[in-house]
Symmetry: D2
Subunit: 353 residues, 4 copies
């Protein structure tokens, strides 16, 4: 069976990555691509890498152009997907790669985005442990995705951060009040709009922070996920930085361990969480994650270390911000919702070197 | 039907790329990987990106370990594949990604490699125009690959250079005595062995030439292909340079046009050569090739321009040196030899950004 | 003695580099910086690296703000410096880092720039051999710069190309009708204006050509200089490419040698031209130029090779496009015009690694 | 007055950077360069960027070759400078850019380096606040450097980390028990020895952590400095990461604030510490540090933010790991010890772009 798909925001980085991945998906037929300023243009002119889709003509993003497909991906600026989604038929699977439907708390949305809350959709991070691990059998987020018709794809930073720490929080091994996350993202995380600091001459050979001091919009999303994992109130210090590479996120997540927690306890919790996961991997001891090893692939790789001197666990996690961090997670979630094997179309290995 | 495959030199860049591409090939089962110093190690430790093959154990490269497969890829240092290949059964499809079997002329081999010539195999550049275009109907190299059991994969520079100029040479539009080629390669072209000038600290933010003055080993290979295309004796000035990127070759190939040649003549020759090719593309006028647009893919993209002031055509061509320039061409040639559709397993789009 | 200096276009890359170099010049006092859109802003906000000049306030670029200085640097878009220069006092040393006053031939200007020709000024490439070497004693361009009050700074590509080939042309060793130049430039060569293809996400890990086919505006400038060097009519095939690094140009310049020319002849001509130069260096045999070795410095380094098989000399030359290619050459020329030692303030070594 | 200088380890990155900076120092004459494997070679062959020192011949590193100079820089692997230093005359100013003489505590040395402790020398971080700010007038480390004949240059990570947090610790505003530091370093921080993961093909486009879990050797050095600043016992969680750039460190340092601390309190403490410093700068609000802005210069730039939600201050600080982080700090300390103005020879601005 083949599902017809429309991708809006097709000329941005998130939309382009959805298309790149879907071009290898055996059960999907991309029939419509939409965008704004480039409507009317052949996709081949705008995205010369997507050769198999080159002859599609970009259409205006509207409920009309997006309707009539089995699946619609929304890869729009935050605030834009809410109104569009509201006009799409219930029976269509709508997957929002933007922020609009990620947060459960309208106040958090208002505080960080300043517009009206569009609502909360099932969260497309299948491997996220969502119910308290310790009070029963663990559940994962994928259970909430089967058969749904609306999915909110996580942000790229929250994907890596939540995967990094959720096992320990769910196992009750970490103090949820003392979490510090510092992450480095490739420049594609900042989108395709031209800005002076994102020019190659400025960004190459340079690292810089931004959104420091708890103001980055991914902070409440992380706290929401960590709260679900731990069953407790959580506070996160999050500092994003811009790294001189096109893709990739390396997240360093550290949390104070609860007294009496050993490295074995930690490793057991992470192994239990991810041992059977096809896309999330705790590396063998001694091996460290590199963003290059997952470049272009849907995998997340991580390693953990206990620093007994300071009583903290440090988990470093690498993903491709556009793949597992956005479009890969979106396609994986689509597979679950459609009842396809979860890994369908996602067998691309990391592009190394 | 599934073909069993062994890949030697599996821990180098060429071998690794063969594995990366084969991991998505639906009719291939990689059962053996071999290397030298790392024999006995789990592949997952050496190539953490190749997750689907992580559990294979690297074996010693030898006729014994390589025998018993339908297909054997040799990705060995030059001079090493000849002896190994000589021991493999006739019925096995042997694809040499190294230099040993590329040159027809034993003298040229001796002059540039200094060892004994291993022999000449069918040349794995399917799109190369090999018979004189003007004296009959054009033929392409792929005709020599169907059903063969030995294939010599072209060098990365010759792949892009020959694709860039062969149409004009075969059409008799270019002076074969005045060809100048300058090409920039990503650092993976220099292999995986650690060398001071290939360290990141040295190579990043830097460009440099090497092998200047007709001494690069890919020069006779280009002259062989250009000679086949033009039916005339050819001389090529070739200068390779090292560019600060992991992958990709951008070739600037320029030749003096024969008197009376118009831009329309040129464009017609190139279009005739490549219009029906799945992997080689003359871009629409106004669009220039970028190595990024073909990163990780088996495509070659090119653009041509006539400079009437100097009477030269300039063709710029971009490929991924490891994909179309090595492993992609190898898999494509394998498909032809095995009677599979030529594009099988090669539908990966360029990784952008 | 201290000279007062004004720099226009101070917030662009050329102007910024003039400021960076002048900040270390012991006999210069930068008192005025001008620009367009950022007038009124503290320089420290716009160019945080220029700490010693941070408290200067950017003023509007106008004859009024630029007047009253001993030296004025114009680092403006092409076409913009002509009108400004026309209003500056004769006694002021005006150094135009833009294109307006480089070409002698108004027709060439009109053909490549499409506006009215602003005139021709002494050309600020001191090491360029300008009179026919073989008919008398060699002369260098620096002789035309002493005491002048107007200087046209060469383009970055022409700086490296002319330095690369002029010695052989002036010595009559090269065929001036068969010159092919392919050069790779860092992204700063494209300026500071934001453009999609110059974004870090697009330009990193990618090489691409542009201005192919004799249309780049630096072509007539090269032909002018080569014509002066050789005393003959010259035609140049020039292809520029964009490399994934912030700075640097690597030029590969090749010309057919005249019959009977030996490598010794060639080496002797280049050595004679540059042996006593403080900033232009033919490297010891076996050593190849790298753009990194001259990063941030005013040096040009080159190596030559004869390819007897094709009868061509290949000269590869590396400069920093913003330093020797623009601002360094400008300061060096200023020193000559002011009667200062030519190397004053230009003792910065290349930033390696 | 001119001081004669010898630099050992001259062919490594630290030694090379000392030479690059000293080449612009007006009161220094580098007369001896020493190394190990390259003894007997002309420096110009090994470090083509250092043109003004090209004719020096590299000598063996030994007390004999290093003796007889006013100043000796040791840029040797850890453990190697102790024995050499012990043989140098008391009257010579010996500046150790290696680790051997940084730690006061022999046990910490033994734990992290595993060899015998060479002793503790005055610490070459002039701007470090060393005495408890709150119990009297603040003192800075430079007071301990005037007239000394032995100086231990700080590690690159500790330079940025200590500069980032010391003002707040000295002012009693921070909880010294909950400090988390994550830093990204360019590849030159890993030295010049060839290692697989430092090859350009591997390191470009990739970020990765290393030395996670409190095992990096710079950890005790940070704790020593923070302890001096705060007068209290300190524990630091430090995670270093490798970034795809040749130079630069971006440090994200975060500490829990003491109750009642306001952003104004914080800003006042940092301003008081650095307002009069020539090389350490708290940026204007709204401006963030970039490693590029200090590339090749001796400046450190930082910005701070209070995250009231989690009760932490986050200080991000950028330096050039080889300049301010090693060689620049060494030259600055030399100036102090010799009684020269502290900024002599250190007026190079950051190389941008």
């Amino acid at each position: 069976m083949t599902f017809s798909v429309a991708v809006s925001g097709a000329t941005g980085y998130a939309g382009g990555e959805v298309l790149r991945l879907l071009s290898q998906h055996p059960q999907v037929d991309v029939t419509t691509v939409t965008a704004h300023s480039s409507a009317g243009t052949r996709l081949g002119e705008l995205a010369p890498n997507l050769r198999s889709l080159a002859d599609l003509t970009v259409q205006e993003t509207s409920p009309a152009t997006l309707s009539g497909h089995d699946v619609v991906f929304l890869a729009l600026p935050h605030g834009a997907s809410g109104p569009v989604a509201a006009e799409l038929p219930e029976g269509t699977l709508v997957i929002d790669a933007g922020a609009d439907h990620r947060l459960r708390d309208p106040d958090a949305w208002a505080r960080f985005y300043g517009t009206e809350h569009a609502g909360h959709w099932p969260y497309g991070l299948p491997e996220l442990i969502t119910a308290p691990f310790r009070t029963g059998s663990p559940t994962k987020q994928r259970e909430d995705l089967a058969g749904v018709s609306r999915i909110a794809v996580p942000g790229c930073y929250p994907t890596s951060a939540q995967l990094a720490l959720a096992p320990g929080l769910a196992a009750g091994l970490l103090d949820p009040e003392d979490i510090v996350i510092v992450a480095a993202s490739g420049t594609s995380g900042a989108g395709k709009a031209t800005k002076p600091h994102l020019m190659a001459s400025e960004a190459m050979s340079s690292m810089s922070p931004y959104g420091v001091g708890g103001v980055h919009r991914h902070t409440p999303e992380m706290e929401q996920g960590f709260g679900d994992a731990s069953g407790e109130s959580v506070s996160v210090s999050f500092t994003p930085t811009l790294a001189p590479m096109p893709r990739g996120i390396l997240t360093t997540a550290t949390a104070r361990i609860r007294p009496g927690t050993s490295e074995d306890d930690l490793r057991a919790a992470w192994d239990a969480a991810y041992d059977s996961e096809p896309f999330v991997h705790v590396l063998p001891e001694g091996q460290w994650p590199t963003t290059k090893s997952v470049q272009g692939s849907n995998h997340a790789v991580m390693q953990l270390a206990l620093d007994p001197h300071v009583g903290r666990v440090i988990v470093t996690c690498a993903i491709d911000n556009l793949a597992k961090g956005t479009a890969g997670g979106a396609v994986q979630s689509m597979n679950i919702a459609l009842g396809l094997p979860e890994t369908t179309g996602l067998d691309q290995e990391g592009l190394v070197p």
